[in-house]
Symmetry: D2
Subunit: 293 residues, 4 copies
């Protein structure tokens, strides 16, 4: 999780905070954390927890309304966090996460994300759209978002990725969404942006990894097609899965039909993954995700 900016609050206007943490599981974690929150007149409005039997780690997500400001909460939570060896983050509920969306030529995911942002259904602030083609510039500009054309060839890939990283850093983006971006990120970039890049793969992973998954699905004669949204790691199509969805198809469907049907599923699946990430509902448990929906 990236650093969160400091948010101003005042005792007169309680802020709605979201606290997420993970740590080795042992008794007393919830009591300790809720003790800190109660001491700051915190009213817990939502709370979810999970003890992972495979990793032995404990995960907690709490929404709490409190008049305390960030500094007070952080200094009160710090000793508890140290005592239990926690990885943790504190944010304001509903804060729009600065986001860069990367695209090629397919518009459906970009259109869906921009529309949801505008209608208030997605707590992100799209600060830039980056395309390796010009095709989606008008759509981005209709929504008032700067569009950067960053073409990629084998020869220019390193430069293009440097420019992308520059855009991310200058724009203050905390999240990068690959919205059917048809280039593979280098290991270096995956590492630099680790945990901050969400991709949509157009198959029900681990089925049909790699290219042309709908054609693979058609060849195999599957009766459901799907999409998978996952964090990007250096290991292609193997990153931790955030969300998956399927749609029924039958023998009458050509591969090109599957592409069309799949677009709906892709857009829905990606939008959910992005929303849950932006709401701090997704925590990493090794190669798996904990999703507090």
């Amino acid at each position: 999780m990236p650093e969160q900016p400091v948010t101003a609050t005042s005792p007169e206007h309680p802020t709605h905070w979201v606290l997420t943490l993970s740590c080795p599981d042992r008794p007393g974690i919830v009591h300790a954390v809720t003790g800190v929150l109660a001491a700051h007149d915190g009213n817990i409005t939502e709370s979810q927890q999970f003890g992972s039997p495979t990793s032995g780690r404990f995960f907690l997500r709490v929404q709490v309304a409190s008049g305390a400001d960030r500094a007070e909460l952080e200094s009160a939570l710090a000793p508890v966090a140290e005592q239990f060896d926690m990885t943790w983050s504190l944010d304001v509920v509903g804060r729009a996460v600065p986001t860069v969306i990367m695209v090629s030529t397919a518009a459906h995911c970009l259109n869906d994300l921009l529309f949801r942002q505008r209608s208030g259904a997605l707590p992100i602030d799209v600060v830039a759209v980056v395309g390796n083609h010009e095709a989606l510039r008008p759509l981005a500009e209709f929504y008032g978002v700067p569009f950067h054309h960053v073409p990629v060839t084998t020869a220019t890939k390193a430069d293009a990725e440097a420019r992308l990283l520059g855009i991310v850093e200058e724009s203050g983006a905390e999240l990068v969404v690959l919205a059917r971006y048809m280039q593979i990120l280098s290991d270096e970039l995956c590492t630099a942006l680790s945990g901050r890049v969400i991709n949509i793969h157009h198959s029900f992973l681990p089925s049909f990894k790699g290219a042309r998954p709908y054609h693979q699905a058609h060849d195999r004669g599957v009766k459901l097609i799907g999409a998978t949204s996952h964090y990007v790691t250096g290991d292609l199509d193997e990153g931790p899965i955030i969300e998956q969805e399927v749609e029924r198809v039958d023998h009458t469907r050509h591969p090109s039909d599957l592409v069309g049907i799949g677009q709906d599923v892709e857009a829905r699946t990606l939008a959910r993954a992005v929303r849950w990430h932006a709401e701090h509902r997704v925590l990493l448990d090794g190669k798996r995700t904990v999703v507090f929906r």
Copy 2:
């Protein structure tokens, strides 16, 4: 919630407890409860909570492994419960809830519940099957469950219900499941067994209340049919909904097809509602339910 029997435990073998409670919402509830649990070396394995904005009530379900016995936990929790004006119950996770299943002639729900109980997928102990017809006696007896034939006519309804209530009381049943039982319970019986009777209605309520819902659905030309499992109250088909499910249908389906398709949905929906009830995952919030799935 009915009284729970006292369960023996020992410090050497921690018991896995499930605590559920509801009370007027105010700060400090979770901290107070987790404090009691921490003081008894309780390790929380699952916890869910909800503050209802419509009723102003707070709901909590906690699973906790603790070496403390029931008496210790109850006496430690009692002051907190009093302080916050809680309705609460404490049970052992996985205890099979003594259950009476009531049937007429349709076998699908009974078959499903008995099979799930035997395969360990449903924490109930079916202590009796009561039928107003003899048809399902062989099925009950195959699973080793006593079958009581209690026919009902207008003239004998009061006697039949008295006999039913006798069976419930003598068998120690805490739950009554109406598994396509085609008689309407009297207001008196509904009151006597309030919160302990689960019904399956063969429509997506509130659509198609009353008789022959699949025929009503066919007449209206709906594209999805459904089933609704709910607590029984004196107000027919208006009790709090626990679970609903639907299945796609099309114009080719006769009402008799809908009946067949619906049987799958009914059985699944009822099984889920019964399991969640038996696992203390369903709490009442006025006319609505809180379901900690």
Copy 3:
């Protein structure tokens, strides 16, 4: 079904035709129709039929590639149609149906329909957007569609509807889509446009007719919310249902959450209904629809 324009074709370039018909059911219909098509070197690529046991009517939809032109096919089919007392229509597969979309302030359905049209997923040609508010003008204009602001008050309703009817007639629209248009059409307009107006109702009809269905659904504590797309008749929310869809919700959802969740379901449901209508897959069987998906 409205009149279809004559489409030019030539023997060298076979046209892909779609023929739909309904008539009283009796033996020999398919053989007679396929005989006409075979006599014109027609290659049937898709065919669906249904004999309705409730109405006694037979329904057929055939897609056929043939070098014959419209006049030849129509004059060859006419005697068969007369013999069997058919209601029938002939169109070119994939022809974009001229469509007027009516809106108020909610953008999700309009955005979805316009995006699908542009990406080629919906065989409609949106010739005008009519809004009783100005809010959605920019969206319509981004897609290059003329926007007409036709405000409606009780006093001006008759004039507004006359203007609407004028827009439909002048634009040559064959279909009117109410994409969350928050005005009730008069009986006169419903009659004038009978079978050509599709609405999206934001509930799983027949549950929660009328206003504020998500609030009704929340009050009743349902576990699934839905949307219904139907032809508009003078009988509000009672027109023939084309498509329905649901989405799971739980106790944590406020009515405002349901509104947001419902928007996705509404847009998807309406898009499917519009596509099936535009592809001549929806035929009326009294108050019910036959949908050849």
Copy 4:
């Protein structure tokens, strides 16, 4: 498709026939077939067709009520079948297909199939249950079906398969259902019973082939688990897929939970595949299936 027994019929009582066929696609097939049916006073009640663009084959399934008997229809259809080089079969709608079910120790699929047969939801006649364990004998016998215990070890596999083939032949079974049978059939047996063996695999193929698919699914952190019913070929888990279904899971589920959740999906998926096969709704198009649902 196996040979169908001759079924008696009389002109006074029309029989409801189901005709399925496939052949190289070319114009005139439907007209020729419906001509034969019309000449025998056939009233078509259901008809579905499909031209496969990948294989170039045409597939047809027709239900037709006719007073003609099997011999009359067969001799009238034979010339057409020869003309178009058809593979075809003629059966009586609803005839119960003699079926052998093979099991190991898991009861859920067997219970589901036997219950559906008894309740009339599945047009099969289970003539024998074969188990490599004794565990499911009581369940088979409750439904009045002979149970054969045929244990399998590496040393006895050939003998066991010979015995199995003997049971299939002596019982006149046309279909063999592997209802969580935990032995792999030899290539010889797969060939001998080609197109007549349906398996249920407990994953969403092609994900998680082979053993312990739910553990594989858990390790990968998928958000949906599934089941796949397919024809058995010598190529393990690669046979033509008939039906697939999924169910949502989340991070809280242990592999053992997935097994339990999966049982419902497996039973439903297998029951659908068996029903469609028994109703002659499944036709083979190379490695893919055409399913006329």
